[in-house]
Assembly symmetry: C2
Homo-oligomer: 378 residues x 2
């Protein structure tokens, strides 16, 4: 049996997405920037996709800037704003995605902008009090904090953080790669200025994502230069098939969104119970065992014992596909910076991230957790 429990790293593509991508590649090869009919046909499809996504995430079409994915979106927002001179400080947290943390390192090395990290409690939640104190210093600031943590599933209180930013005239960016397209979110009703999104975490293609830029409160400087695409903010011939695939993925996700959410919550409850019952001394990292404070599809568990990297290897041999954290270390198992921060160790915690999707079944959980328990208890 093979059980894929690494859906926070990426998800299987929906069959409807693959069909939409293939159909678009066959019939709409024109360059959307060409003024002739072949170009305009492709342009129409891309703008329909933009409208479709905008209606699902509740924002205006023009607030969506397509990118090559969440990493580009995060790089672009942080670097563009740092270079624009609009802010002299960026406040973030030590458990953001690497595309935020590494971009912040670039900002520190290449601009005058100061980078400050807000403190976390032991569950991995930021200190709102500390954030408020920092913002009350009235230094022109961008706050960048992720909505749903990709490793421990902690959810940020967007409204509280956004209102703190609004009240103190700070800009607010949030990495929503794990939440936009998954959860019902109404961007225009939230006090946020910028958000980053991706398609492949929600059964869409890899290599496509977008930046949301609140048209009432925020602007974005160009970051890839060379053409008038994406209202001159992101040059480069549009990845039309990727855009159509993302639109279809978001559409499919929200067709039966309530059913999927219920299914994920049921899986999560079931998994937590089974893990507790089958592994003595198990712990749950962050808020991942708290259904109301964390993403419905992520559990991060701390395990007793010392496995020296053999745990993932042995699980893999038995067809159970999980991870220690983010996939972004490209095969090099350096451990997770998130659990390292939370457990105050050097990234060699015995922890596992289990992440589900709408395709995951109770039977798969049974096999996956039974296998984990057998190895851990042996």
């Amino acid at each position: 049996m093979q059980v894929y429990l690494d859906n926070a790293a990426t998800t299987p593509l929906d069959a409807e997405v693959i069909s939409a991508v293939s159909a678009f590649m066959k019939s709409h090869y024109g360059n959307p920037s060409s003024v002739h009919a072949k170009g305009r046909e492709a342009r129409v499809e891309i703008e329909k996709a933009r409208k479709n996504i905008a209606s699902i995430v509740d924002c205006k079409d023009k607030e969506i800037i397509f990118t090559s994915g969440g990493t580009e979106a995060n790089n672009a927002v942080l670097k563009s704003i740092a270079l624009s001179g609009k802010v002299s400080r960026i406040i973030s947290s030590p458990i953001e995605h690497h595309s935020i943390l590494d971009s912040l390192e670039w900002v520190q090395n290449n601009t005058e902008v100061e980078v400050v990290f807000v403190s976390l409690n032991k569950q991995g939640d930021i200190s709102l009090e500390e954030l408020e104190h920092l913002l009350q210093e009235h230094i022109p600031t961008l706050v960048s904090l992720m909505h749903g943590n990709n490793e421990i599933g902690n959810m940020l209180d967007l409204i509280s953080v956004g209102n703190l930013c609004r009240n103190n005239k700070a800009l607010f960016h949030t990495d929503m790669v794990q939440t936009l397209g998954h959860l019902p979110i109404s961007l225009n009703k939230l006090p946020i200025d910028y958000a980053s999104a991706s398609a492949h975490k929600v059964h869409g293609p890899k290599g496509i994502g977008f930046i949301y830029t609140n048209s009432k409160t925020a602007k974005l400087e160009p970051f890839l230069h060379g053409g008038a695409q994406e209202r001159s903010i992101r040059a480069g011939t549009e990845n039309g098939s990727g855009i159509i695939g993302m639109s279809k993925a978001y559409e499919v996700s929200f067709k039966e969104e309530k059913k999927h959410q219920q299914h994920l919550l049921r899986l999560k409850e079931y998994a937590i119970d089974m893990l507790k019952n089958s592994i003595p001394d198990i712990s749950f990292i962050g808020n991942s065992a708290n259904l109301s404070l964390s993403l419905p599809n992520i559990i991060n568990i701390g395990l007793p014992g010392d496995y020296n990297d053999t745990l993932l290897f042995n699980l893999d041999l038995k067809g159970v596909f999980v991870s220690e954290g983010s996939a972004c270390s490209s095969g090099a198992s350096e451990g997770s910076h998130v659990t390292a921060v939370l457990l105050k160790n050097e990234g060699k915690a015995n922890n596992l991230r289990l992440s589900f999707s709408k395709f995951t079944t109770i039977k798969e959980l049974d096999y996956g957790i039974k296998t984990i328990a057998e190895i851990v208890n042996s």
Copy 2:
């Protein structure tokens, strides 16, 4: 009848490419950075694609860094090198692609690096003498000049320019978006340090390209930060289906490359003759009528009369899809900066770019050129 003569803007996808992309999306959804079997399966396919492309363009696998396309590749090379402190000057030309020119403007606004443009003769060829004089000043320099001009088809003498650079210790980048994957090119035998490439100009998907970095002579600093992908030079979950599509497109292109080249040359000769015979006072811009000095698939013609933008519109109505130049102005017909430079006008030359592919037929040329002539001669 509909005739697509805008293949320098983009090309119809090969059926084999669409099949390869679809098959990959169905079967290899894993994140290539995941250490488990699902991740490794995707990683294997991506590395096979990299090897395949490397063998076709004759370089080492590790010299290929995948990007979201030619525009990102050009931005990345110029901005990374400008920020690295390795050079204090970039020499380029005024008829490069906008992704070069606009990146150079960014370099001027955001770094201390000086930007110098080498002079062109009236055909649009750079002055090698002037370039040599500039390089003999022994200022640490990057030269960026495109291999095949996307509007007028002029080919650069890569060996002469590259040797001038080598002899004067300058780095050499060349935008090969119109030539890599089209023409037989042996990267490792050329005196170049960096090259940019794209898939969608050669019947591959949009949203994918690569940077060639000569491992013996050149390095590239990271430009998208946040993960160890592409040897930590370009972060972001790999666009696997795009990479597989580009590999297939290059493979298909070279399966019958000689046949395609002969076909394109025959089309070009035929088109030049027919244009000369059917439109009095026609001129050919750049070297585009010179078969040995220009790309086999691009002709750029100057036309008598004044059409005030109605020419493209009327051709479009009759199903003839051509352009004035690069598609990158996104529907806004601002005219071409290339013909503006060469004809010393303000970009409102009456010119048309006709560009072919292996799928173009003599019958299509007959209809396209007959239609152009009817409008121009009426």
